[in-house]
């Protein structure tokens, strides 16, 4: 992509590339050939960025960002995981079909460099149907869904805002009592709680899930609650998550070293 290297002065470009018939994320340095670049495969490249970022001490990194990637980057920048100045964002608008699949209501990136912007979908039908059900029916629904889980950790590994690499509580017997497969309700409830203040609704967890659990629906429901309780939407560049501030809105000091 000429845009990234010549106009924006980036040193690397993070992109999806097709090689030997498989599409995978690839890091292209300035001057390397960019054969087989694919822009129609939805994947959160921010997840890859977050993993390789500590090994790249200098240079500007260009990254293809959908709207959800932008929001994920905003969450990472707020938590000081990545430096905003070293990232060049190349906006990519999602196709209509992708928007429908994610039930996304905010699909257009701040600057569209590639693709045509389409309007979002207003509501998640499953979420609406669930919120009308009685709590018993809802519990039955979710228990049936979660029974399909085989604890592959696909949802955490592919999540752009899951960044506690080695200290994930979901791998710890102290917190998730059920070591068996399926992992029981606490696994999913704990993950729901952890994602409540940072899930940017990219839908990568649902795409990654081999059991096709509607994880994204649960995230959307909680995002609605988060907005109702605190008036906070994850992905906002300015406001810090209310769970990271005191009652007066002052920032809490971090007692654990997260770097």
């Amino acid at each position: 992509m000429k845009l990234a290297f010549e106009e924006q002065g980036a040193d690397y470009l993070l992109i999806m590339r097709e090689e030997h018939g498989n599409v995978a994320p690839a890091m292209i340095a300035n001057g390397e050939s960019a054969d087989g670049v694919r822009l129609d495969i939805p994947y959160q490249l921010v997840t890859i960025l977050e993993n390789i970022y500590p090994w790249l001490s200098k240079g500007k990194i260009a990254i293809i960002t959908r709207r959800c990637d932008e929001k994920a980057l905003a969450e990472l920048v707020k938590r000081k995981y990545v430096d905003d100045k070293r990232i060049v964002k190349i906006g990519l608008a999602c196709s209509e079909e992708q928007i429908r699949k994610c039930r996304c209501n905010d699909p257009v990136p701040s600057t569209v460099a590639v693709g045509e912007p389409h309007a979002g979908v207003k509501d998640d039908e499953l979420a609406l149907a669930l919120s009308k059900k009685s709590s018993e029916d809802r519990l039955n629904f979710w228990v049936d869904q979660y029974k399909k889980c085989n604890k592959c950790f696909g949802c955490t590994l592919n999540c752009p805002v899951c960044f506690c690499d080695d200290d994930c509580v979901l791998e710890d017997r102290t917190f998730v009592a059920e070591p068996s497969v399926p992992p029981g309700l606490s696994f999913h409830m704990i993950r729901s709680f952890h994602m409540a203040d940072k899930c940017i609704e990219c839908g990568e967890c649902e795409r990654a899930c081999p059991a096709e659990i509607p994880i994204l629906t649960m995230r959307k429901l909680l995002a609605k609650d988060m907005k109702a309780v605190f008036g906070f939407t994850p992905g906002d560049e300015k406001t810090v998550s209310p769970l990271n501030t005191t009652l007066e809105g002052e920032q809490l000091e971090d007692e654990c070293d997260e770097s």
Binding site: S135, N140, V169, M189, I190, A196, D225
Partner: protein, 139 residues
């Protein structure tokens, strides 16, 4: 509701609520025996994971007690709890477990009577709600 006596887990902070519970005991205030008290150093050290784990394992109700806002021994500990617990309640509600099974309240070291009142109220409420549906669910 014959025969159902709920199992309740109470997390009490070391500096206020546990002393409050102590005072209630020393003052010989009558309380239902369903409550299992766990002493923690601060209500903020009650990780939401513990609450969710307890409820998914079939505990009928979880009570989180801390110092009043502004009185926290660690300055802003209970500010965190006050913000976390509503979200934990929402998680429970969305999964389909009644959010009243988790209650957050403030009890200071001198409020033995309030401790008794909170416990009696909570046990009544949980008895009315019935057993935790997660007791029946087998994964």
């Amino acid at each position: 509701m014959t025969g159902f006596s709920p199992t309740i887990l109470a997390f009490c902070c070391n500096w206020c609520s546990y002393a409050g519970a102590d005072l209630a005991g020393v003052s010989r205030l009558q309380m239902p025996p369903n409550v299992h008290v766990v002493r923690v150093m601060c209500s903020a050290s009650v990780k939401p994971e513990y609450v969710l784990k307890a409820i998914s394992q079939g505990v009928d109700g979880v009570l989180v007690l801390g110092c009043h806002i502004g009185d926290c021994h660690y300055m802003t500990g209970n500010h965190r709890t006050a913000k976390r617990m509503p979200i934990v309640q929402k998680v429970l509600e969305e999964v389909g477990i009644d959010e009243r099974r988790l209650r957050l309240d403030w009890v200071s070291a001198s409020e033995g009577e309030k401790f008794q009142k909170v416990v009696v109220d909570f046990v009544d409420e949980i008895t009315k709600l019935g057993p935790n549906p997660m007791r029946e669910v087998k994964f």
